[in-house]
Symmetry: C2
Subunit: 188 residues, 2 copies
Amino acid sequence: MSRGKLFLYPVFRMQYLYVFMFYAITVTQFTKMLQNLSKILAKAAVEAENRKVDFSVYLNSRLAPDQFNLIRQIQIACDTAKMCAVRLTGKEAPVHEDTEKTLGELQERIQKVVTFLAGFKEDDYKDSATIKVSQPRWEGKYLTGTEFAIQHAIPNMYFHIATAYSILRHNGITIGKKDYLGEMPYKT
Amino acid sequence: MSRGKLFLYPVFRMQYLYVFMFYAITVTQFTKMLQNLSKILAKAAVEAENRKVDFSVYLNSRLAPDQFNLIRQIQIACDTAKMCAVRLTGKEAPVHEDTEKTLGELQERIQKVVTFLAGFKEDDYKDSATIKVSQPRWEGKYLTGTEFAIQHAIPNMYFHIATAYSILRHNGITIGKKDYLGEMPYKT
């Protein structure tokens, strides 16, 4: 939101301004990152075909024997974006089984999350700063929405996108930082 | 900032609430990530010593021949944090030459940025949403502070920390996601 808009903002809604940043960073920007990931995968698929390498070789690659492969990195990036929205707003999460084996299925999974995120609005985030966020493995402990978004969801999301990128990069796919970041809204 | 605090916040400062999120995400949280990186490097150094591998082998490793090595990933993570603070607040950046060759020098570089970030206050960020951010290679084009923080600085910062982590992980250092994320302020 620009400062011009801020100036005209009704005072009674001012307290929500802080949390609207979560919408911008975890809905709008996560959507962009998922779309960047989708384009990176499409680019990698073309290169794989030119080299006559079955794309499943890339999908099953990993950077260390005890690290998740590319398929799982993509699935976790999808779940991180989906569950961040669900946990910060208290909404229900659609179930996405981790059954994808092909690029087509993974692209579909990404698209499902992009569509899911498109259903959220800034106002859904009005209680997100203080909502209690927990996960089964936290054994009853919780983080506030602010702590969860900043210290957990955001670093996790970029971790899995960057790792997916690195797996492809390590296997010789010619992608660069620009593919990871996506288009910038430069102005003159 | 908690909603309790928000409620008592003077109305004339309300317009700044939105941008204070940038302080939380790019000063407080980037500081945490730099400290996590520092601990990961210290842990890796102990493992390298146990295996009788010169740590410079890790520092000069990379995931692809045309990708930056670990030294450069650490330097860029440091610069991303430093320049984000400088660009969002209009302050001057201290010069840090990219001359580090040893772990000790790199730990010192990280510490310098942590100390530099500690000098910033929330109020320094009051114009950060709309400040014009540019870089020499953007050839006169600019991004607003909001666009720069969300679409450029944050994804870049996590990219370089995750890549540094991946280089070590790929070389067999036994680190995990918890080392990357750091401590969580869980509550019961």
